[in-house]
Symmetry: C2
């Protein structure tokens, strides 16, 4: 197991110590494994929290800060946080304007966030939830009823975070978040498995010249396993179902997000971005903004995912708004 770790049982706790040490403007509750914006709660601002299993870094802890999340609840690797964590975070970030839960569609996450929302309501905090389910690869999966939430979550956290910063109401911020999810579609491909530290061996076996098309961010199976193909064919395999699903149409403007799954270096992601851009251009779809890099990962998995978000002027303005987090930062 080629990992920079100590005891596999301590990986999440020790990474949180590192996040705290590296980012003095964040605050970490180590007991509850929650990363907070240092100045939370902000009076009058809707609080935004997200969370999920660890192993997808920088999601979600790397997206905490002005213009994005107020808190991120960290589960163990690929394991949902528990309702107590979400409840604790919800109470802590409430500035009187309510709290939005941003939840990726995995059975455990959805159930635990729902329970936390009910408990928070009992303490008088108003909570709304938005669930991301942008992965077009499979309808149901190992850990999901319905589609999985993947890359759209990153774009949603940025855009909803900007809406909250403008002191919009809880309902307004939730509406913007749902608009992002409704207009985003994603699909991913794995060239290797990932290795969960506690297991010490790859989650699945994949030959040196094979790839898993439509893989999930925990190594869940996708649509099919096929021989490794050139990047231009991989881009086709990913974009065809994405474009057909919304569907995206000639003249649409999109945010184009080419994401690395953890073990794939940036030079390959830019090469993939070029293939994606050519296909979009051929379809008459205009990339208004782009994001290239490892933002929602699956430990050390080699591969990438592509997310397209059809974006109105308003969503683009919110995308452009200042943000200051460890992983996304501009304008501040």
């Amino acid at each position: 197991m080629n990992k920079l770790i100590n005891d596999p049982a301590d990986v999440v706790a020790e990474a949180l110590l590192g996040i705290e040490a590296a980012h003095p403007d964040l605050r970490v509750d180590h007991q509850h494994k929650i990363v907070y914006r240092g100045d939370a709660p902000r009076r009058g601002k809707v609080g935004l929290i997200s969370g999920g299993g660890s192993g997808h870094e920088p999601l979600h802890g790397g997206f905490v800060g002005p213009g994005m999340l107020d808190a991120a609840c960290c589960g163990e690797v690929f394991t949902s946080p528990v309702p107590e964590q979400m409840l604790e975070a919800t109470k802590a970030v409430d500035g009187g304007a309510g709290v939005l839960h941003i939840v990726k569609n995995y059975t455990g996450d959805v159930m635990n966030f729902e329970m936390a929302a009910e408990l928070a309501a009992e303490t008088g905090v108003e909570v709304l939830s938005v669930v991301t389910d942008d992965d077009v690869a499979v309808q149901d999966s190992t850990w999901t009823a319905g589609r999985r939430g993947v890359g759209a979550t990153v774009l949603l956290e940025k855009i909803a975070g900007a809406a909250a910063e403008q002191e919009r109401t809880l309902k307004e911020v939730a509406d913007v978040a749902r608009e992002v999810n409704a207009n985003a579609r994603s699909m991913g491909i794995a060239l290797t498995s990932c290795t969960v530290p506690a297991n010490g061996k790859p989650t699945f076996e994949l030959g040196d010249s094979e790839m898993e098309v439509g893989v999930g961010i925990h190594g869940e199976p996708g649509r099919r396993r096929v021989p490794l193909a050139p990047a231009r064919e991989i881009a086709d395999l990913l974009l065809e179902p994405i474009l057909a699903d919304l569907p995206f149409s000639r003249g649409d403007r999109v945010i184009t997000f080419v994401n690395g799954l953890g073990g794939t270096p940036l030079i390959e992601l830019y090469l993939m971005y070029n293939e994606v851009a050519k296909i979009l251009s051929a379809h008459g779809i205009e990339t208004a903004r782009s994001l290239v890099g490892p933002y929602i990962t699956s430990l050390d998995m080699a591969g990438c995912s592509v997310t397209l978000l059809r974006a109105s002027d308003e969503l683009l303005q919110l995308w452009d708004a200042p943000v200051r987090t460890p992983a996304l930062r501009w304008g501040i």
Copy 2:
């Protein structure tokens, strides 16, 4: 070979197409494989150019933009660019205040940048050069007389870029750059080899429970190959020679940079950062700023490097100055 590529011969050219498509405020000369700041040359500002073999992304193309480089010359993977590229870039970014060449200490890079500087001087452009050689692992190596230039290059490009933005003179910018190199020390460790696309197989063999201590960013051998150790011991192995070399002393303030080599995910880099922070704290060394992530990589190599830069108030102010590049961005 688990890579998102087409023909191995086209990797660099196609990645440059992706960089151009993703970043409309940059300009790419595909013939010469140069990434330019879109508004170069800037009249009255010293032009900053760097470059080297590809495979280290985001270095250098991802550091082009306001507050950092004016141009980056891209060689083929792990191969120096040729003097013609550097000459072309030098002439193109000269705004009348001269041009600084930022060169990592590898034999080919140094020779080719020297030749380009001589040719540029003949055309009337004033050029100064600064060579980084911050790697404490080995004195000479496969491709180097003297020490290798590694992580300090990232910090130097940011800090010298800020000095140039203030319209300091060429000599002043070069002096700041040399101050950074003189006060920075680095060392790296590999948990896997990397695979050069044109070769199709790992550059060296490393067992699943081995690591190469003091590895170079092209897979050059380091100090020794030893059994894989826990992260806390790896941090000791890296920091002991770094701290002893400058030497760093109790009370020093540093920029602490934990860098990923390409195949190692962020969760492990934060865990390593925690180990590094504990050692620095025990030595009474204060981290004034930090940087955690893959910024100078070696294709898909798993592993990390640590760079410490002893930083004066002035260097910290220059570090904090606004920057807007694909890979480092804040304040703009």
